[in-house]
Structures are given as C-alpha cells and as structure tokens.
C-alpha cells in the first residue's frame, strides 16, 4: 500500500527497520507521529515520551488521503486496532504502516490480507466474507446472482481441503500463484 510516508520509510529497510527497532523516537517515528497527530490534533499530544493512552477513532483515521477512497479502509483499520473497533493507538498506527508498506515481506502482507478479508473474524474466509469482499470491490455493480456465482466458483477453485471455506493455507496457496499481489 503505497502512501506518502513510505517514501520516507519504505525503501530504507534495513535502515528504517533497524532505526525503528533500536530507537523508538527516531526520525522516522517522529514523522509518523506528525502524521498521526494531524489526524486529530486536539486528541494527540505533542509529547509522546510518557506513552499516553490515546486512541484515534476510526472515523478520523479513514480521512487519510491514502485510505479515503480505499473500499477496505474500515477493515484495514479494524485489523490493526487492539480493540477490534478501529480505534488506533500510536503503536497500532506504526504497525499498520510497517505491515502495509511497499517493502514489507510478502508473507506478512498475506497474513494481514487474510485478516482484512475475514470480515467475521472466524479465521476462515467463508462465503459471506467473500460476498462482502466482492461487494466492496465492485461497489454493488454486480447482480446478486453474479456475486453468488463468483463466490462459489472462487471457493471451488481455491479450497484445497474441501471444507468450502478458505483457511489461511488455502489463501496463501492461491496468493502464491498471483505475482501481482498487494503492491
């Protein structure tokens, strides 16, 4: 998921990564903190040294330009939030960027993509999850019969162990065949 902050951090791995890992208040984190603060200036304090427990609500996070038009914005933010409701602490915010930036490893993106597409959070992508994904992708342009047909065929194609749901292993196997994944 390319976004503006990534031209700061994304291609600097390993430097970015060791920087963030070794010193929490590095330059990169300061910039991230700036982005975090501009979402809710009245909520987020300038000084983060005593780790205050501040959560920025979902409605403010999805106003970010990179997420604004994304059909999965709610799910993305919910996946990275601790409480599952989409309220991100600063740690969650950093997690979200680190997982979705351009150079994060493909396995990590696969894990988080699976979580994002798993709407009912039962650790399987069942038919309903797939239908909701499809509706978000096509913004309701397909008729319900077409949606059902696509979901059936997709599960049929990707389900390996025959339980009519996509477990993480099925999902990973299917993604491994597609090189153009989550750029």
């Amino acid at each position: 998921m390319g976004n503006l902050i990534n031209h700061v951090m994304s291609l600097l791995t390993p430097h970015w990564w060791t920087c963030v890992m070794s010193r929490w208040c590095s330059v990169v984190c300061r910039r991230l903190h700036g982005r975090y603060r501009e979402l809710a200036p009245h909520l987020v304090p300038l000084d983060y040294s005593n780790n205050p427990d501040i959560r920025v609500p979902l409605t403010l996070i999805v106003t970010m330009p990179e997420l604004k038009e994304n059909p999965f914005r709610d799910r993305i933010v919910e996946t990275f939030s601790e409480d599952g409701q989409g309220n991100l602490t600063f740690n969650d915010f950093v997690d979200m960027f680190s997982a979705l930036c351009e150079t994060s490893p493909r396995e990590l993106k696969t894990i988080y993509a699976f979580k994002i597409y798993d709407f009912n959070r039962d650790n399987f992508i069942c038919k309903e999850d797939l239908q909701r994904t499809l509706n978000k992708l096509t913004k309701g342009e397909l008729t319900p019969e077409e949606v059902t047909l696509v979901c059936d065929k997709a599960i049929e194609e990707a389900d390996l162990d025959g339980d009519t749901k996509l477990s993480f292993a099925d999902f990973e196997n299917m993604i491994s065949k597609a090189p153009d994944f989550l750029r």
Binding site: G2, R121, D122
Partner: protein, 820 residues
Amino acid sequence: MARNVNFDLSHPLMEAGLESPVDEEVVHDSFNQLIAEQSRSDGLSDAFELQQLQRDLEEEEGQDDVPYLSSPGHEFRGNRPRRRDVEWYDGERRVDPLIGERWSSATLKVLSSMPSRTIGRSRGAIISQYYNRTMQLRRRRQSRPSIRDFSHSARPSIRGYGMEVDGTDAEGTEVSKRERLVNNLQNLSASDRVRMLRAMPLSVAEKSELRRLALQKEKRTITGSKIPCCSRLKYYIIIAFRQSWYSWLSFMHSLQLWQVALKRVSGRFGTGVLSYFLFLKTLLFFNVFLFLVTGSFLVLPQAVHPPELAANRPSFSGLELLTGAGYFSDTVMYYGYYSNYTLQSCRDNVSMSDGTSCTSKQNSYNMPLAYFFTIGVAFFITCIILVYSMSKSFGQSFRIDKSHSILAVKVFCSWDFKVIKRTSVKLMSENICTQLRELLAEVNHKDANNTACQKLWRLMIHGLAWVICIGSTIGCVLGIYYFSDYMHNQTTTLLDEARLLALPVLVSLINLLLPGLFNLAAWMEDYDSPSVCAYVAIARNLMLKVSVLGVLCNHWLLNVTADPKLTCWESFVGQELYRFLLMEFIFTLLDTLFGELLWRLFSERVLKRRRKPVFDIARNVLELIYGQTLAWLGVLFTPLLPAVQILKLLLLFYIKKSSVMMNCQAPRKPYRVSQMTTIFITLLCFPSFLGASVCVTYTMWSIKPSTTCGPFRELKTMFQAGKRWVEELEKDNPNLSLLARAHSYLVENPFFLFVGAGIFLIVIYFHYQVVDGQRKIINLLQEQIENEGEDKKFLITRLQSIHEQKRTPARRLPSQDSGC
C-alpha cells in the same frame, strides 16, 4: 436402526452417520469454554462470537432444518447428501440432547490448538509457529539431524517440528516459548534474524522487544566471556561498518529520483502506467553507468591530451545539433578524434627545458587498448546487470504451477492499492466488475458455439490482418533499403548537411505510422482476450523495429564501411546514430503533441466523448527499447552517445508525465504488470542488447578500421589491439608467454566458444528438468493436502464418537435396543 459405533474403518455408515450436524454444533460450542480457559485476553473476541453462536443455536433447537453456520467447528458441509444428515439429525435429537454436554478437555484442547485455527490469532500461537520456523532455519543452516532422533509419527511431515500440545498453564508456556524463540533468534545470523523478525505478524513494539532481548543476550555472551581483545575489536569494527553502511544506504535512498512525481502518476493511473516510468528510470541508470565508464576511461584522458587537429575545421553553426556533423565531427564526441598511440602525461609539460617527449612511462595511457577494453567491459557488465534483473523479474512473475484459480485470484489480487484518486478508484472498480463478468461468461460458456463457418471466417480475418502487417513491414523495410542506397550514392559530397537528415526522418516516420496500422488491423480482428491482443501488438511492433534496425545495420556495416569516399566511416556511422536518436526523440515529442494532446481536444470538443485517450503502455515501452538499442549500437563509434541518451530520457520523463496527467486516462483493459515488466526486460535483453552486442562484436572482430582516423588506425581489426598488447607484454616479460599462448588459444580458437556454449546449454537443460520435477512435486503436495484434510475430518469425527460413546453409555443401550 442401531448406531453401531465401531472402529471398522471401512464401515460405510461410520462416515455418513458421524456427519450429523448435531455433533459439530456441540463440539464448536465447547470451544467457547476451552478458549476462554486457555487464553483469557486473546480469546475474548472469539469467546464473544462463539457465545453469540451458542445463543443462536439454543434458539434454533426446535427447528428441524439443519442450520448453516459459518463457524470454526462447522467444517463438514460438503458433498454429502443432505437427506441423510437430516435423517440422522432427527434420530439423534429425539434421543439425546447433546447440546450443552461437556466434552473431554483433552480433545478440545487438541482441537482448539490446531495450527489452522490459531494462525495470527493468539500471540502464543504466533510465537510457537515462529519458534518452529527459527528451529528449522537453524537446523538447515547447521547440520540436518538424523531422522531417528524424532519420534515416530504417522505424518512424516510433522516429524521434527516439535509440535507440542499446550500444557495447562497458558501463561507459563507462553513465557517459556518466548524465551526459546529469543534463544533461537540469537543463534541465527543477523540477516536471517532480521528477515524472520520482519515477517512476524506481531506488533512493532513486541518485535522490538524480541530484537532487544536477542541482541542483549548476544552482547552479554560477547562481553561476558573471555574473548581476546582483538576479536572484540573486530566485532566493534564490524558493528561500526554496518552502521555507516546503513547511513550511506539511507542517504542514497533519500536521493530517490522523481519519487513524488511517480507517486502522483501511480495514484491516478495505477501500477500499469507506473511501470512505464519505472522502466524509463531503469534505462536512465543503465545509461548513467555507461556514461561514467566511457567518460572516465575514454573521454577524460583524451580531452586532457587533445591530439593535433586538422587545420580546416568548420565553424559552429546551429545545424550541428541536429546532424551531429560539422563542428562536432572533430571533437571528443566521435571515434575519429581518438588517438592511436599511448598518451603520456609529460608530453604537454612545456616547462621542460628541452621540449622532447619524456622517456619515463609513469603516466602513460594506452589509448587503443583502453578503447577496446572499455567498450568490452562496459558491454560485459551491462550484460550481467541485464541478465540479473531479468532473472529476478522472471522469478517474481513466473509461477511453476499453471494456475487454475482465475476467479479467486481476480477477486483478491486485482485491487491496485496504489490508486488513491476518487475517479480512478471508481474506474478501477468498474473495470474489475467488467472483468469478473467476462470471466464468468467465459467460465460458464466454455464451448463457444462457433460453427465451422464462423471459425473459418475468423481464421481468414486473422490471416488477412497478419498479411497486412507483414506486408507493410516488408514494404517499409525494402523502402528504407533502397532509399538508404540512393541517398548514399547520390550525394557527391557527403557533408551536405540537410540531406543527411532524410533517412532518419523516414525511419522515424515509419516507426510512428506503422503501429497505427497494426492497431487498425487488431481492431478489425477483434480479439476476445485482451492479453492475447496485447501480446500480438507487441509481437508486431517488435517485428517492425527489429527489421528496421536489421536493414540499417546491414547498410552501415556493409555499404558504408566499403565506401572509398568516406575517410572516416566510424565517425560517419556515429553521426548517423546520433541523428537517428535525435530524430526519434523529436518524433516522440510530435507524437505526444498530436497523438495525445490534440486527439484529446478533438475527441472532447468534436466527437464529444467523455473518455480521454488511453496511454498505450506497450507501444511507448517498445519505443524506449528501440532508442536504447540505438544508444548501445552507437557507444563504440560515439562514446558520448550515452550522455545524449541521458538528456533525452530526462526530458522525455517530464514531457510524458505532463502529457499523461493532462491528456490520458488509465487503460481500461486489465494489465498484468509483473508479467509485462518481465517481458519488457526480456525484450531489452534479448533482441535489443543481444543484437547490439552482436553488431559491435562483429565490427570489432571482422571489419577493417579506417586507416586515417581513430585509435585502431593501422590494425587489421580492432580486436588486434588486445592481441598486440599481449604480444608486447610477452616481449617485455618472457615469463608471461604462457598467458599469451593461453590468450591466443582461448580467444582466437572457436573451439572453446563451442565448448562454452555447449556447457551453457547443458546447464539450462538440467535446470529445466529441475523445474519439471518441482512441478510434479507440487502436484503431489496438493494431493497430500487434500488427503490431510480428509484425515483431519476423519480424526475429529472419530474423537467425537469415542467421547460420545464414553459419555453416554447408559443412555445408548435403551436406544440401541429399541432401534433394532
């Protein structure tokens, strides 16, 4: 009918009866208790969902229909006939209210700690999964343990995994697992550790904690133990070096060229159009490398020691910029300027009293040898870089297993997350919609109802289109051939400047107009699949450009070199290439102006269409490749040509970017970026670079250099420069005669070339066999996964039945009696 619970595996009723949904609901119910028991904090969300489901279940108890529940325990919906399920369901319900029954905690623990249920959920599961992975990595890096060390298990795949059933104390096991993970991390190498930590789906805070612990232990072992001070010093030096390397890397990356511009383009048009600009950037880097090499080894020494110039040099007039001749022809730009002797730095030292050339050879520079080796080494390094990037790109986009899961992949992988503008997002979702519809139509109506007559008609159309394309290509190529001959023979004095531009203008015009004809032909053919259409278009354009370049090379290398009127044919060829490059750039500008801007105005105002013209990625990339081929062809004759190409690419980037942002829209057809990028890099390597290097090698190997100019004046071929140097070395130092002999055998004898090529082909064949074997293994593994799925189902149902039998032996007896 009695429900005999026996352990006969082949008993047919076993599997049918055990798939009563009642059993599943009871099992999944009790997960609630177990998960709440096991991991209090992490399982809360699961617990809530399952409680909800349990409440739903209790409401639906009275119904006869089998409720469809999407839940973790509900796995056995499948191909079994539903009637049987309902039958068994009814039977069971009347006899045993099994809901709410407590199952043995051991069974439930086993079930809930199955890896497929806990991936990415609880922290404990993630840590244990990555503990296993680091263990595997350690073992792989060290020696493989013997298989006897592992306990026997029915599944060889989990041997050595160290799978453990969770103990009773959840907190305790998690802490100990973390300790062990940290221990493993510490024992890995630094790069492995970084890679493992990056891939973990934990939060950044936890990852940094793990890393800190791993490094802390490392430091403790280093500083605590009695390591001699010299290796400690070495350790500190390595750390300092690594830190400075990271700082250097970050500095380099902060100089990212065009980052913001690329971001804006990708935000509006997606990764397809972005790939064109990234390709342009790649070509820029190739040319910068070439320029640095030729500049520092050829241009700079020669510029510092200029040779004696001819008296009658023409003065500068503006036309030189277009034709490259005139004032420029006797400059460091062309081959003819370079000296054929060894440059010595004290030649120009006029402060010497006697004015004679100095005898010391300290700062001498053998120009012919430098020329020969620089060009050779530049081409060699470019070849290596190209092959490396081609293989990397190929590795990313090539999939061994032919994928059958088209629809699923389309649903999950077709969304381009780089696009952030609202209209583009809307367009993208419309595109995906269309593609899904097309795929559905294709999947549903696989057999096209094409009669023989229709097929014949389509075949005729395709044949006609190909005849048109090939015919027009051949026609243009012949035209260029005869025209080049005519232009060459007609002018008496070849310095008639304006006439020199005629051939480049004609070639660029053909390159501009003929692809339009190909597009018309493709429109007439009306391909079903957009990817086939794209490939056919690329193939036709490629055919045109290869034939044009072929006939031009033929003209230069055969006609021009044999022309007695030309005193310095290499410089002339260099000038021709400069002109071609420049004309190509000018015509690209004109095409951008007319093709994109004016067409957009025309279609908006006159045709009143709402959609802007589409940016044709494939055609533009092929034009870039054509330009780069010209640059590579010309490096031998014009060492400064890479600089011209750099300027051209820089200007092209900004012009194309503004044009795209103003005039175009994203392509409507799906564009598979990784595949296309791989194809373009392959095209850059194979026809383009290979052709250029073959031409250059042929020139250096066989063609006699001109006698009056250039660094290879008196030699038979340019290649002789290297040979002469080796002979001189042998003369000076007789010990190197072995080297000279080896050189003469290896390089001049074609036998070794054949042997080398043969070995190369054998290696390729072996790798192909390996890939084939891997494909077979993938098929076997897929079958194994299906079997494991069946195993899992069977084991769970068997566990349920055993516990059910144990729990309710008393209640079963009356039912068995009555059932019979």
